[in-house]
Amino acid sequence: MRNPQLNRHGELQHLLSLDGLPLSILGAILDIAAPFTEVAEREIKKLPLLRGKSVFNLFFENSTRTRTTFEIAAKRLSADVINLNVSTSSTKKGETLLDTVDNLCAMQADMFVVRHESSGAPYLIADHLHATGRDDIHVVNAGDGRHAHPTQGLLDMYTIRHFKKEFHNLIVVVVGDVLHSRVARSQLAALTTLGVPEVRVVGPRTLLPTDVERMGVRVCHDMREGLRGADVVMMLRLQNERMNGALLPSPQEYFKVWGLTPEKLALAKPDAIVMHPGPMNRGVEIDSTVADGGQAVILPQVTFGIAVRMAVMSMLAGN
């Protein structure tokens, strides 16, 4: 089966998922991202790499934060950025996803940054571009359903490497709602590809996918056991709609059992870092003392996120 992310030379054509992405490409993106971090410190925060290119932020699901980071990244590469919130316009008029894509292609798009509520939507677009002979257009998955959020996964890996230097000696813990989290799926795929020897997932059985062990992780239902000796603690966001109901009894109980407090964090290594993809629910998955404490690297994650997205876009546009 053709890997839809790679072109016929084995180079990155689209960034759709970190699952199935070769280590060489994953590593190259992290390497390329490093020099991009420096651009933010210049007087003119702009590189000419994507000058004259049109990047369409195609958001079928609203997310101001993610859209903004992609927009900043593209603009720092001198691209023209066009933001489309499709959820509110054409799909309601009966236009299909592929109609929308065809229309934008006719406007000479060079790159689509796609956010969609259905798992696999960016694959459909990539497949359609291939089938219609438009292999010069690139697709970046900015989050599809529960499936993947590869740039978030990459910036998390960049952050880990920045603070921990190596991957092969780490214990990394992912805590929370793995079942509904595209971020978690991307993190787990990247961590295993990069050779992290021990990846643990911690959470109630209702929030872990069936057969999650097959993704190469150890499952801990006990938060304390999961945190013991960890180098990196990656917290996941708990969506409001899952807090009361058939999956969890209440946010209070969730915080009591799985919330990250200073006492629980003390079980991890003293130099362990704490990450969160944002936006945080303080007092639900994370205590404010931890979120604002010295071990949290949540703001560096945001900064690195721009460099990583610049790296991805410039790598794609050059292939």
Binding site: A28, I32, E38, L47, L49, S314
Partner: protein
């Protein structure tokens, strides 16, 4: 016909002699990765330049990005001094088409507005495609090299520099 290449260390000494009379309080050096950065490192020491040394990787500014893609391992650019009004000497190992210099100039100007910019190179191999010349140049090849050959600076374990011809 084999081409005799001069000793890079001798050329370096010649370059120092050329630049020294112009060095002032405001002089700053910026080396282009990778060969230019090695040279700039040596020049910085030999000339006793006060401003900290800057380096530039022009991967992000190259005009052949559209056809050749991104360089697989770009290096971090670092300009640790205030570019505004500085007299900057861009240092590179070999001057060829002038496109690298153009990219370096573009990048430099994204950091601020220098007072003056000069170019220092170890070797000019001819073949310019842009109106660019080096104010300091230690050696000019007697004749142009064919495009299939690449002239590169290398550095051994002891830090000694040498010029090498490679078939591209």
């Amino acid at each position: 016909m084999p081409i005799e290449l001069p000793n890079a260390e001798t050329l370096l000494a010649r370059l120092v002699d050329q630049i020294r009379p112009d060095v002032s309080e405001r002089t700053a050096l910026v080396g282009i990765h990778t060969g230019g950065a090695w040279l700039a490192e040596r020049l910085h020491r030999l000339l006793g330049v006060k401003a900290p040394l800057g380096t530039i990787d022009v991967s992000f500014y190259r005009d052949d990005y559209g056809s050749r893609g991104l360089h697989p391992r770009p290096q971090r650019s670092g300009i640790p001094f205030d570019v505004e009004s500085a007299d900057i000497i861009i240092v590179d190992d070999v001057l060829y088409t002038g496109r690298t210099t153009r990219a370096a100039l573009n990048e430099l100007f994204d950091y601020g507005r220098p007072g003056r910019v000069d170019l220092a190179v170890l070797c000019d191999r001819h073949g310019r495609e842009l109106p660019i010349g080096a104010r300091y140049c230690a050696y000019t090849l007697p004749q142009a090299l064919p495009a299939s050959r690449s002239l590169r600076l290398s550095r051994d374990a002891t830090g000694t520099l040498s010029l090498r011809l490679i078939d591209a």
